[in-house]
Amino acid sequence: MGLRKDIKKVLVIGSGPIVIGQAAEFDYAGAQACRALKQEGLEVVLINSNPATIMTDKAMADHIYIEPLTLDTVKRVIEIEKPDSVLSTLGGQTGLTLSMQLAAEGFLESHNVKLLGANPETIHKAEDRQAFKDTMEKIGEPCIPSKVVETVEDAVDFAGEISYPVIVRPAFTLGGTGGGIANNEEELRDIATNGLRLSPITQILVEKCISGWKEIEFEVIRDSKGNVITVCSMENFDPVGVHTGDSIVIAPAVTLSDREYQMLRTASLNIISELKVEGGCNCQFALHPESMEYAVIEVNPRVSRSSALASKATGYPIAKVATRIAIGYTLDEIINQVTGKTYACFEPALDYVVIKFPKWAFDKFVYAKRTLGTQMKATGEVMAIGTSFEQAMMKAVRSIELGVDSLNMKKFEEMTVDELLGHLRKGVEDERAFEVFALLKKGVSIEQIHEITLIDEWFLDKLLNLVELEQWLADGTLTEEKYLTAKQYGYLDSTIERMSGQKCPTHRNAVYKMVDTCAGEFKAETPYFYSTYDSENEARQFIDRTEKGKKKVIVFGSGPIRIGQGIEFDYCSVHCVWTLKELGYEAVICNNNPETVSTDFDTGDRLYFDPLTPEDVDNIIATEQPYGVVVQFGGQTAIKLTRHLSDCGVNILGTSADDIDAAEDRERFDELLEQCGIPRPQGYTVMTTSEAVVVAEKLGYPVLLRPSYVLGGQNMIIAHSRQDVEEYMEIITSHMIENPVLIDKYMMGTEVEVDAICDGKDFLIPGIMEHIERAGVHSGDSISIYPAQNLSKKVRETIIEYTKRLSLALHVVGLVNIQYVVYRGEVYVIEVNPRSSRTVPYISKVTGIPMVDIATKIMFGATLQELGYASGLYPEGDYVAVKVPVFSFEKLQDVDTMLGPEMKSTGECLGIGHSFEDALLKGLVAAGYDLKREGGVLISVRDSEKKEMIPIAEKFSRMGFDLYATSGTASYLNRNMIATNTVRKISEGSPNTIDLLESGKIHYMISTSAKGRMPARDSVKMRRKSIERSICSLTAVDTANALANVLLSGRSMDDVELVDITKI
């Protein structure tokens, strides 16, 4: 059938900021979609509020709107651009929901826009609980006994009928937001109330809990001809009960016999055929472990996180194929890119196993509830490919960057069997696999662990193999046979040496196998490899076969998405690869994150899907023999490799290992600053609590505390008192006593950030960014404005001068990110990162300076002058851009939402406008702030900020908001002539702040406190409550002030122009 003739211009809707449950996988899917559309010669219009994405890059679309993903904005884009079609299924739930709303309102029809990828009926049948049940019943596919209810009472009645435990699933929410398992009526009332509120259609599903059944997924594709195929099956290590996004997942399914496999495969095909999906679809099943009974859990009629995983696991590009189907092609017309000979209408055969391991943020959120359930909590994931389960598992655990190289975790090793079993019985937590491993190592039987966890014995036995291997290594001489077995099971040389206490008798380099979709049946030319210990090295053969005499350069990626290291580094890595190709190099990517564009096999000239540890990287280097490697675009993950690579004599392109070290090592950095004559906040290094208190008092409160071993704000706090210092030191020393703690004077000034490019002689600052929140709020969590609005000429010049001195002193070749604080008119340096940063993508997009491209060219000897850039600050453009952080607090119970020096946001949005106010307005709307202009504002701030609250409160009051405050704040405001209602604190009995938040009267809450983190504290409870009630919660006075100003400006989204950034 081929391309539909009536399609010329397509609108692609992206998925917006990265939040838990909707991450980089949609940038991967969206980028594939855009490329597929452009390859067909179609004009592509893109809307996505997330500036860190690759899809919002000029290379990807013809017209790009980094604008809020609201219904009104999308309508306006359609009116401006007049596309003839909209592609709905590549932008996650956000894109899909918007498309459906546009269709339901008749907007698409009245504007002659075709809906591609899904039709409203399909979506209704898949997403409306009752319609879905009816559809499944019609085709005889079993569902779990369940009922859709709209009130708590109905939920309780139904649960009585089917008996507890029951699962609550709210309709139309992301990643299962607001769902949970209720074991009794009380719990059900709690969960149901919350779920009903979060569901945009006030609907929840109450269903029988089938915890313990196997959870199996199929990725399925269908075209308009009715051709149907399954791309991949996946089996969850954790049985039903843990969200698949939080589960360790194995592909293909490994414990199913052909009968079971075909039964579920056929069910998937029946479902997709009945739903008439044209494109990709994900079907989730629960399979009874002791019978052929199964039930359909859920169907997602769009590309998803699972489809990204399935694509990477098999080499089958689901998003690309789904896009082609959406524009008219059928599966039998689409060539399988991997083989180049066969067609997309086939099912991949794997000759390896794949393990996906989730990455959680519990290392940052020490007080968060770690229990896993139906609500997804992971921020990212890694994938590992191996020829055995054990090998893949070992690769996965070292890819996930938990500081371990095996399944041995010290804290579990130190626990007794009873303690471990007791803990295991309490519920599933993120580290369960490590816990189970510790139990197996302590001799507890598979049967006993299975009884508690219901994890299939097959998986437990594989873990036991690893236990036995480790014991075998520790027992007697380390023979070559043992060594080779351990290598095949995925162990690093260093791990083998540690476990055996002996030197390795020999060293084997890994060989590489190709991921080819067909298990070797057809000759493939996919440059996609994974390591194993075997006889044949296909990567080497491939390199020899395709040798073009080009120099090879390896670009190290940034691993799993986590708070503080997100999709922006993938943007940088991919751009670096593009530039390398343009410069005539062979660009090789090493990364382990299945959600990303960098791990698409046709991004680079070759892809190695493997862990990013020194030994893993050595193996790749041994096979590739590169001219050089690039570490500065892959975040800390890649930077961490620098020292090792440099010691091995590998050519590090760009800033040298020694200079990177000079920026990271505190003592060397202090020396450097002294040489350059640049001040930084005074600080000391301490080891013990008593030392800490002495130093803190010498510096004067507030002080900033952080462990010395990390940069980027992890475990960093601001202490306002001796008690704060003591509490912090207790936590930090209980973890790792051997690492010193850094204490700095905390300067409450304006934070300014600069990304610069340096060629060793000249330097270029594309733009200076200013943060709305004063120093103390992590730069990643601050609202950041480009260009800086409030800096004096002198300060600006000082910043330029310091940036120059630092770049040159550090011999930066490429990118550098510098954070400053301006305190009482003086500029101080806080941090220097000689690498790419979070802000590079957005600054590149709004200034039009392709920073990564320039940096890459400079690494290869170009100068800024040659590239046409003058030294210094680049002239400011006509637009103001405001980056607004986005958080996933509703997914993480018990996490304090108060902003501080430790980063908490998972993603970001950008607002672009002619004025600061317009840009901020857009940014806030994009980040999901509901800018209501009436209602109540609840204020509760710490004493030190009460004075500053006066003008802010006055603004809200002037706009007609009703003010409420706890006694201290209220009397202070009232004394200052701002009428404020007093509301009781939680400890003062009902009705109190919590009741007020529950009442629905409050639209904004401004809450800051001297102390935080501990979930039991009042202020934390209030902030959690506001998150649960979706009340706009502001935890910094500066944010509150900015928001008040936006409201005061009286402008709304209707008043601001939409900007096509390709025209900037």
Partner: protein
């Protein structure tokens, strides 16, 4: 059970002189066969008991075999016909509620020699490039006797395959509600062909491969099923001659795999040996009538040459989407239709089971006209 630390070495010696050293599982000894690979990720039990693999050493490309053990329900015949079995890794602690045995023990019981722990992907790629080739698995070090072994290996060919695997007696299988009577010619049939028929109300009379047209006619069937089976189809001259008569009976004929090839030969078409065959559960086949593509289960080393079929006799109804080889024929001159793939599945996708419905449809029409 757990970590397999040590096991006896075993070797694969290929006709081209290549040697892979791995480890032994299953039975011990030396066996020669035609080395082939299958890409199916499940259904090893069905593969091992599919008579079509007679004379072959089967390599599994999926690395983890034996995960769900062996049960008594998934056999496709009463024994294993493979000569040898090669996997990357076998599972000594299977986990499945139906599992009764481990694959190692199962192979030992049936005296099948197995080899594990070799680079099966390397072997697969070698077979793909060079085509299927003969080889031997041995648990005795081949060093020092390579010449003799290679001579034996090179001399080997799969002979008298159908004669060996076919049953010698007639068996009748009766479903609860009999709607049709089908004679199933046993060239080494898979049990699920019989079950697929019985599930549709067919009483199935399984007869030996060399049963003649008259003998079949005497059983008064509503349909005749020509089964799958092993070997070079052109070698089964006697059966081909019989089929030439069988199709003249006017009774609906449905052929699967070898049954498809033998019918084509009987109707004057030719067969050819494929370089490395189609073995797996992911082979796309286009039904030319509907234009739809189906994912099918396949296991064959030979194929009908589509162009050799006289258009007045019949037309190619299905082709392989990858290499465009003939995957099915509908005959005009006689009441017969045949497919190269396995609509009965087991293992593999159930997507083409509709062909059995076409068969019963033809039987309905035949019965009406009787």
């Amino acid at each position: 059970m757990a970590l397999i630390k040590d096991s006896t070495p075993a070797w694969l010696v290929l006709a081209n002189g290549q040697v892979f050293q791995g480890k032994s599982f299953g039975a011990k000894g030396t066996v020669i066969g035609e080395v082939v690979f299958t890409t199916g990720m499940t259904a090893y039990q069905e593969t091992l008991t599919d008579p079509s693999y007679y004379g072959q050493i089967v390599t599994q490309t999926f690395p983890l075999i034996g995960n769900y053990g062996v049960n008594s329900q998934d056999f496709e015949s009463t024994q294993s016909y493979v000569s040898g079995y090669i996997v990357r890794e076998w599972c000594n602690a299977p986990s499945n509620f139906r599992s009764e045995d481990s694959i190692d023990h199962f192979l030992k019981r049936l005296n099948i020699i197995g080899l594990w722990g070799i680079d099966t992907r390397c072997l697969t790629r070698m077979l793909r490039e060079a085509g299927v080739m003969n080889g031997a698995i041995t648990t005795e070090d081949p060093a020092g006797r390579m010449e003799t072994l290679l001579t034996q290996i090179r001399a080997y060919s799969v002979r008298d395959a159908v004669k060996t695997v076919t049953g010698t007696e007639t068996h009748t299988y009766t479903p609860e509600n009999i709607k049709y009577r089908v004679v199933l010619l046993d060239f080494g049939y898979k049990r699920y062909i019989r079950k697929s028929l019985m599930n549709r109300g067919c009483e199935v009379i399984v007869v030996p491969a060399n049963t003649t047209a008259e003998e079949i006619y005497a059983l008064d069937p509503d349909g005749i099923m020509l089964s799958n089976g092993p070997g070079d189809p052109a070698e089964a001259t006697e059966v081909i001659a019989n089929i030439r008569e069988i199709v003249k009976l006017g009774i609906p004929v449905f052929g699967i795999c070898l049954g498809h090839q033998l019918t084509a030969l009987a109707m004057g078409a030719k067969t050819e040996k494929l370089k490395y065959g189609h073995r797996g559960a992911n082979q796309p086949v286009i039904d030319l009538a509907s234009g739809k593509t189906y994912v099918t289960s396949q296991n064959h080393g030979y194929a009908v040459v589509g162009e050799s079929l006289d258009p007045s006799v019949g037309e190619v109804s299905h082709i392989n989407a990858n290499d465009k080889t003939c995957e099915g024929i509908r005959y005009n001159s006689v009441n017969a239709f045949t497919v190269q793939f396995h609509p009965e599945a087991h293992g593999g996708p159930l997507d083409t089971a509709y062909l059995f419905d076409e068969f019963t449809g033809r039987m309905d029409a035949y019965k009406e006209g009787k």
